[in-house]
Symmetry: C3
Subunit: 207 residues, 3 copies
């Protein structure tokens, strides 16, 4: 783990830390999109797209660094997975906002805001963990344990939302639209768990 | 292939064999969930979740063994895929039962029980194959050929179910709910085929 | 990159070029399926299945070659990804046609034919690029830039179709069926982008 720098410019771990900051930025705007009315949502969504675009470029820098480096702090494929999964999480956050606009959702049910809050928690603790990505080890255990708990909680909230949605409504179109929005929120949370599992894998290899 | 043991405790192939046993247990409970009435389903589903939880722990043991071993009987990434795919199959079986409860399905169409039976066949022959995972070679050909046949049969059954569902019903909510249940059953069968493809890949490398 | 041939028979790059030709054949038949009436669609779909079957065999030959070769022109996992992603693209084209039959779609909206045309463009330029797969480098940049543009365009078309679909219709069953058809078309385009990203990755490593 001593070798972290191979050539000039930022190291791959610095680039990954930078990339992961977009998770927090995207999650924060998503919370605003979720609370906005349909008109203001369109504008906020553009901000979200810009963040997604920046995150895309940040991911590209990481992949280029991985692919052009002979010496890396962790296994190449693990670093590749990390960066791709951060990118997936940002994409899913962006698509969550997108779906609220696309399906012209009016007001979200109260419980749906809990899913958005869970995404914000996931983003923050993932960013915290990845800002120390140059020293992944067992001491990060609290991070993936907390992500697992957030995912479990999210799953319960999601299932209760879906159950209510299909039990109460007699408007299939509205049910469908809301389901597509909720599905995306739930996928985002799931992906944070997959990301945490890669960090755990690296920690096991390092131990 | 001579080196199978690197340190004390069970070998990675023993752990994979153990993990794959959960496929059979989960599939058997799913068959009961599918035949139960909505009330008994809730209780049976808890049993299914417990199996999924045990399977999760078994997967964790395999991944830890893979990540902490220097010498492995097959390529690291193939073993990693094997264990992750067993876990995916158990998850999808669990989610299939879950969806029957979540969408409050009353009675499944007769053909849907065929999908559950195919999942049980897949689980059994996969467990049989993986209980001999320490000697994967061309002699296992019957296993992946049979899985392919089961998947093809499952696909035909699924398509006929979907076609009937969308042709006959005039209750969109019920169509939707049933589709989400059938989709999950079909995904489980698909995943068994992906798993078998990894075993075939290992066999080719070993030949 | 000098070593391209390890044993007799076609090289892995020749086999990948051969495999990718099925993309063009499948996309061309899909365009016919999309324009056909429901009756003629059934027959055309059989042709599409035959192509998908041939593509499956071509993929199998590539994987066998990769797994049985000690020396390969690029990283094993990148070649494996390339071949699997070509296969995914053909599968998604086949499933797109399948869904038109399965959901008994009558006439597609005009914009949906644009998605089919984008798939045809993607197939052609991917085949062009992969027919020179033995010399992947930065000179191929035009290929992945164009795929990205096609994917962006496809995304705009898809979103406008979904938006119209959910805004206008009062028949939920028809909305649902059309959504499942459009989703598959959009997934096919997405997968071409993932495939192009792997080619770009190889180019970066080669540079």
């Amino acid at each position: 783990m001593g070798l972290r720098k191979f050539s000039g410019g930022p190291t791959v771990t610095q680039l990954i830390a930078d990339q992961s900051e977009h998770l927090v930025r995207a999650a924060e705007v998503l919370a605003k999109v979720a609370e906005a009315n349909p008109e203001s949502r369109v504008e906020l969504n553009k901000t979200l797209h810009d963040i997604e675009n920046d995150a895309d470029n940040a991911c590209h820098l990481v992949l280029q660094k991985i692919n052009s480096s002979f010496v890396l702090p962790y296994d190449r494929e693990d670093l590749f997975s990390l960066s791709s999964l951060i990118d997936d999480c940002v994409d899913l956050i962006d698509e969550s906002g997108d779906n609220m606009v696309l399906y012209n959702v009016d007001t979200l049910p109260a419980e749906a805001h809990k899913l958005v809050a869970i995404i914000n928690d996931c983003a923050r603790i993932t960013f915290d963990a990845l800002s120390k990505v140059d020293s992944i080890d067992e001491h990060m255990r609290a991070y993936w344990v907390e992500i697992n708990q957030l995912e479990n909680h999210g799953d319960t909230v999601y299932r209760s939302l879906i159950s209510d949605l299909f039990a109460s409504s007699d408007n299939p179109m509205e049910v469908l639209k809301m389901k597509f929005v909720l599905d995306r929120l739930e996928s985002a949370i799931d992906r944070f768990e997959t990301l945490a599992a890669v960090v755990e894998t690296i920690a096991i290899k390092e131990s």
